[in-house]
């Protein structure tokens, strides 16, 4: 019987770097990722501790999934799974000549962020201004009279915070790469 474990971990939309680091750390501690359920529940299987780099890619125009995966496999990256637009890959450090990622220049890292922005961030921003903000204001205004609105307002405050965290982390990463390109 294989030993497995589940862990709940929340990463906002643009926190794929933190997610990669988390998965690498787990593997270093002898837990390799098997799958992800309900967006935020990570399933692991006991393995020999190893330094393995995890990478997330976000492509929007994959016509042929097997051709896409083949290119990564040719370059030594094992394909794991797809989750809300992201594809997960890993490669042991022992098989690398030096530090290696699936992107080799800032321009293509920025391109990936642009794809995330177009496909995922724009709908979030629309949701934020058309739903979260008005609902938050409405529930706060009614909080004194209605206990339901009081509890709902807490929910919207949490949603509001999560959204802000996503926007800010996304913005910071985007401008870091952009600065990197200008410097280079």
């Amino acid at each position: 019987m294989k030993q497995t474990k589940k862990q709940f971990k929340y990463f906002s939309l643009a926190q794929y770097k933190q997610e990669q680091d988390y998965l690498q750390k787990m593997h270093r501690n002898g837990w390799k990722l098997t799958h992800i359920s309900c967006l935020s529940v990570y399933h692991f299987e006991k393995c020999t501790p190893e330094d393995v780099v995890y990478q997330l890619d976000f492509q929007t125009e994959v016509m042929d999934q097997s051709e896409y995966i083949q290119m990564f496999q040719d370059c030594g990256w094992e394909y794991l799974l797809d989750c809300v637009g992201y594809s997960y890959f890993r490669k042991p450090v022992a098989e690398m000549d030096g530090p290696e990622e699936i992107f080799c220049d800032d321009e293509s890292r920025l391109d990936m962020m642009r794809r995330i922005y177009k496909k995922r961030m724009v709908p979030l921003i629309i949701m934020f201004f058309c739903c979260i903000v008005p609902q938050l204001l409405r529930t706060i205004a009614n909080a004194k009279e209605s206990s339901l609105d009081r509890s709902l307002s807490i929910l919207f405050v949490v949603a509001f915070m999560l959204y802000i965290v996503s926007f800010v982390t996304f913005g910071i990463q985007f401008f870091q790469y952009k600065r990197g390109i200008k410097r280079g």
Partner: protein
Amino acid sequence: MDQHIKKIYVPMTETGFYILLCLREPNHGYGIVQMVKEMTEGAIILTPGTMYGSLSKMEKDQLITFIREENKRKIYQITPLGEEVLAIEAKRIERLYRNMKERF
């Protein structure tokens, strides 16, 4: 040439330049990775995320065209527009090299 193409590809990234250069002969993504590794004596190792993104973008902008698929690998080749962009870049790099040699 389209202003959009000029804005994106002139000047272009080292990755972009090597892709166009290699695709003067039909080749697939991993084939380009190997070619560039050999050409640069291992100094430049193109990576699959960058490669896949660049190929899709260049195909969409019609700098390269898809020819056929072989063992789940798409084979591309440069288009006349791609050649045009490559020639502009080659001239720019030549000038850069000439000035570097004169003053450095």
